[in-house]
């Protein structure tokens, strides 16, 4: 028999329970694999924690050691590819970012994630000289989080426009943009004095301006295009030709068998 689940509160429960699926924590397993053990031994002096999560070795380091650790991993352990590098915003919780580097060893088919916690406002050392892919990844991290990268060859925004203000992947950044974002294109193309003329963004897809007779027509109160709004009701004319009388016999039958 199916397990009984109380259903008294099912309808209302949706309003106060978390809408989003909360991902269960992945079990952290001790390092047992021979290859991973050799990796941990190679960087033993610099790591603070190490474990295996779903077949990926995770190494926690201090932010100032990142270049040294990644260099050892690349040159001694064969992790020649940096497939991903970015950050996670934990500013509200710890006033820190979590930075991570995903490395791939092609010959061993093994992956390592190097993780460090970086204080808000601190800078990290670039690993662009080790992995070319870190060039764009670090620029994106700078663009999205505002994390500065030391010794990067060309640290500038990569996704947002160069004159953008704010870092959109921060959890404090509003999804629909701050004031700068909402006026960006108007300010840039026409100038700030056109803000009043063009008006704020309409973020409501079902918004209807009843008095706007150029864009909307009110059923039963129609006026010509652009004419002033009127409360005077207009007659709705129905066309008889639309209604088909199916009971009416056809005037002449071509085929007698019908």
């Amino acid at each position: 028999m199916r397990k009984y689940v109380p259903k008294d509160n099912v309808q209302k429960k949706a309003y106060y329970t978390d809408r989003f699926h909360v991902v269960p924590r992945v079990p952290r397993v001790a390092v047992e694999d021979a290859h991973f053990l050799s990796v941990v031994n190679a960087v033993k002096a610099d790591i603070t924690d190490s474990y295996v999560e779903i077949g990926t070795l995770v190494l926690h380091i201090k932010p100032e050691d990142n270049f040294k650790v990644l260099q050892v991993l690349k040159e001694q352990c064969g992790y020649t590819q940096c497939s991903e590098q970015s950050a996670v915003d934990y500013l509200a919780k710890d006033n820190e970012f979590e930075l991570f580097w995903q490395l791939l060893n092609v010959t061993e088919a093994k992956r390592v994630r190097v993780v460090c916690r970086l204080a808000n406002g601190a800078a990290i050392e670039s690993v662009e000289s080790l992995f070319k892919s870190a060039n764009f990844a670090e620029r994106e991290m700078f663009d999205m989080f505002g994390i500065k990268v030391n010794n990067h060859p060309f640290l500038k925004r990569i996704i947002m426009p160069d004159d953008w203000e704010g870092h959109p992947l921060l959890k404090t950044y509003p999804l629909q943009g701050d004031e700068f974002a909402s006026w960006y294109e108007v300010d840039k193309i026409f100038g700030k004095e056109y803000r009043d003329i063009i008006g704020p963004e309409n973020r409501d897809p079902s918004k209807i301006e009843r008095e706007d007779t150029k864009r909307f027509s009110r059923v039963g109160y129609e006026v010509p295009f652009g004419a002033p709004y009127s409360e005077e009701q207009t007659d709705i004319e129905y066309s008889e030709t639309v209604l088909v009388d199916y009971n009416k016999k056809p005037s002449k039958t071509l085929d007698k068998r019908r």
């Binding site: 426009p161 701050d178 909402s182 294109e185 008006g199 301006e209 007779t213």
Partner: protein, 181 residues
């Protein structure tokens, strides 16, 4: 030779058609609408399909041009991001008069499902639009219909473009009118 030659003088009079300058000019304009080859997102795929052999825009005299200087119509096909809005406006400014704009698809009309910081919430915030084409993405038939609607609109217009009113870029009615075109 030439057995089918029509003797105009004896049958139906001289080959003369009387018309107004407006109608003649608009006949020419509406039957040679040259859109700009300019795609922004997935709607551009449908726009390309409309131009290709199956739906064949060429038969309507609609031939895509690769330069804004040679184009009459701008089809804004897809999501216009804020970063790109400046360049879309610049292309519009580079087009020679007379020019018309079709806003193709939900994203170009209102921002569509991209209710975010990085998307322009409707291209009519920066460019005056003539035809709004709904759909996500509109099928090639829909774009053809929009083209035909634009032809209809052009045929109703005056040949003197100064007499034609462009859409004002204001959102509130009865207030200020933007002279941005």
């Amino acid at each position: 030779m030439a057995q089918h030659q029509v003797n105009y003088a004896s049958t139906a009079g001289l080959p003369i058609a009387l018309t107004s300058v407006d109608k003649l000019v608009n006949w020419g304009r509406s039957n040679s609408l040259w859109p700009l080859t300019y795609g922004l997102a997935c709607c551009a795929i449908e726009m390309m399909a409309s131009g290709a052999s199956r739906y064949d825009f060429d038969r309507m005299g609609t031939i895509f041009r690769a330069s804004p200087r040679q184009a009459d119509v701008m089809i804004l096909a897809g999501t216009l991001s804020k970063k790109h809005s400046e360049f879309a406006r610049r292309l519009y400014d580079q087009m020679t008069e007379p020019k018309w704009v079709i806003s193709m698809g939900s994203c170009a009309n209102t921002g569509g499902m991209f209710n975010t910081y990085a998307t322009v919430q409707g291209v009519d915030r920066i460019i005056p639009v003539d035809i709004y084409l709904p759909g996500c993405a509109p099928r090639p038939e829909t774009l053809q219909y929009a083209m035909m609607m634009l032809q209809k609109k052009i045929r109703r217009e005056s040949a003197d473009m100064k007499k034609n009113t462009k859409q004002d870029l204001t959102t509130q009615t009865g207030k200020k009118r933007a002279r941005l075109i």
